[in-house]
């Protein structure tokens, strides 16, 4: 396989009630990525994009084809990926494969979502479609409910009193807002306190409002190119070092591992093995913090802490810039926002900027970062991991 690089990216502001359509948002992010890569739309040979709920939020399916036409990539093969919140990362992994294989030299990958147009009730219904519809949705399970049950299980399995666990989880949200405040693309740009987190209304016990990411609108896109092409177009190509993806069944069927998500351990091992790297080699990580507890669960499976111990990373500030493993320096899904079809592309966009050293002006550069890890979870059943590396 050939080496593949990301050579440019684009990112809209993540927000509530965007005045733009999902296609408009992705078209802007895409044109930004293409322009920054010193390319024209005619140079793009294929498009890969994540979009989850356009059918429900805008009555718009098949966004990939209309996006291609909108930005002037006439008649290129365009594919839509659906893996709930991991859709865009799936799209990027496939885009990588097509360039690595030698079939294409330059492709566009990204994602878009306009979730807030649905309102909270329909959004809650549609997000619940990413749990088992036949055997689990009849119980009224929803997106926060999955992680709420994992939080209680985490407390029970690792013998951490719930009150103590909730105080630790509050620190996760507080850190996300601290960095989100510095990210101009973030949906929330305000600091919060532990007390505010613990005072919020309960969404699904034990998770309170500020334990939960918001519904969001937004898009992000990236241009991928083969190494030889990349070197001609940019002096800072960021390379794919390893990729992984795995799937799993309904939540109840994962009982042997919960609160661990086995698929994540399978996926990230693929990425580490392919890259020839270990958790200690990662300089900066964007992981899937859809809920505060999700950050702890992810950090453990990615190899940054022993099982049941990830809370200590946040308690000791090891997840901040200057810590052992800086995590979600973008503000994460919690503060930056979580337009589900775009989230993976947004995570990659931020890691690419970290590895290029582009975040000094925003006050959130991890100094000297050379290797970054992306972790995206879809529903209770899809995980994608990407390891990116600066030369």
């Amino acid at each position: 396989m050939r080496r593949v690089a990301i050579i440019g990216g684009g990112h809209t502001k993540f927000m509530f009630n965007s005045p733009q359509s999902g296609i408009e948002m992705l078209a802007e992010a895409s044109m930004d990525a293409i322009t920054k890569s010193n390319l024209k739309p005619k140079d793009i040979q294929a498009i890969y994009c994540g979009n989850v709920l356009g059918d429900f939020s805008e009555g718009q399916g098949m966004i990939q084809s209309y996006l291609a036409d909108d930005i002037g990539c006439f008649n290129v093969p365009a594919s839509r990926f659906e893996g709930a919140c991991a859709s865009a990362t799936m799209a990027i992994r496939d885009a990588f494969m097509w360039v690595a294989s030698g079939h294409y030299d330059i492709v566009l990958a990204g994602g878009t979502e306009k979730a807030t147009a649905m309102g909270t009730s329909l959004a809650t219904r549609t997000f619940a479609m990413f749990s088992d519809g036949r055997y689990e949705y009849p119980s009224g399970i929803n997106f926060p409910g999955i992680f709420a049950m994992l939080a209680h299980l985490y407390s029970s399995k690792y013998n951490i009193p719930l009150k103590k666990l909730k105080e630790t989880l509050a620190l996760v949200s507080v850190q996300s807002h601290f960095y989100g405040m510095k990210n101009p693309h973030a949906q929330f740009q305000k600091e919060i306190t532990v007390e505010q987190v613990l005072r919020g209304f309960t969404v699904s016990s034990p998770l309170q409002l500020l334990d939960c990411c918001p519904f969001s609108d937004g898009a992000a896109a990236l241009v991928l190119a083969s190494e030889d092409v990349a070197k001609k177009l940019t002096d800072k190509p960021i390379y794919f070092a390893g990729v992984g993806q795995a799937s799993s069944g309904k939540m109840s069927a994962q009982y042997k591992y919960l609160p661990r998500l086995r698929a994540r351990e399978v996926s990230v091992k693929q990425a580490y093995d392919m890259a020839g790297l270990e958790p200690k080699d990662i300089d900066v990580c964007e992981l899937h913090d859809c809920f505060s507890i999700a950050s702890l669960i992810a950090a453990e499976s990615l190899g940054f802490a022993d099982f049941g111990k990830a809370g200590e990373l946040w308690e000791k500030g090891e997840t901040k810039i200057g810590g052992k493993i800086p995590i979600n320096i973008s503000g994460g899904l919690k503060s930056k926002g979580h337009p589900i079809g775009a989230t993976g592309a947004s995570q990659v966009y931020d890691i690419v900027r970290q590895l290029r050293g582009d975040l000094v002006d925003e006050g959130r550069q991890v100094e000297g970062a050379k290797v970054g890890l992306v972790d995206t979870l879809g529903g209770d059943g899809v995980i994608v991991n990407l390891i990116l590396k600066a030369d």
Binding site: T120, S121, L122, T124, R125, A128, M129, D132, G133, R134, Y135, E136, Y137, P138, S139, G140, I141, N142, P144, G145, A148, M149, L150, H152, L153, S155, S156, L162, F201, T202, V203, S204, S205, P206, L207, G249, K250, M251, S252, A253, Y255, L258
Partner: protein
């Protein structure tokens, strides 16, 4: 000899049994693992040498949540308590917990013994018909 691939226990057959107060699962003739809710293959060894088996419907609460935000069309149900129950035969299944104030549940629920009943979810625009969920109540 013609061989037809088919589900040993479809979701409809599982629902029909639930509505008669019977919780069915699949017992693997090769490795003895019980799979519930049903799938095409044994969840342990992936074999298809499966027998339909009636489960006791008894188990203990593994985890829980009380949800205060309900999906479209189910707002009147909130707040409601969802549980994952470890059945005596091994597998975990999801259901609702009754006989308790949903606002007053806490960690003491974990490990409580429960027994199974059922309730029909009439379905909505997106569910392709009705669903049936286990409804657990305390057995201790």
């Amino acid at each position: 000899m013609a061989f037809k691939i088919e589900y040993k226990l479809s979701h409809k057959a599982y629902y029909d049994a639930l509505k008669k107060g019977k919780l069915l699962g699949l017992k693997c003739k090769d490795c003895a693992t019980v799979t519930c809710p049903p799938k095409m293959t044994c969840q342990e060894c992936t074999g298809t040498n499966l027998d339909i088996t009636e489960l006791s419907g008894k188990g203990k609460i593994a985890t829980f949540t009380t949800s205060y935000v309900a999906p479209l069309g189910r707002e009147v149900e909130a707040p409601y308590t969802i549980v994952l129950v470890e059945l005596e035969e091994g597998p975990w299944i999801m259901g609702n917990l009754i006989d308790i104030d949903p606002a007053k549940v806490g960690m003491e629920l974990i490990g409580r013994k429960v027994k199974f009943g059922f309730k029909v979810f009439p379905g909505d625009l997106y569910s392709a018909g009705e669903g049936v969920r286990p409804l657990f109540s305390f057995a201790d």
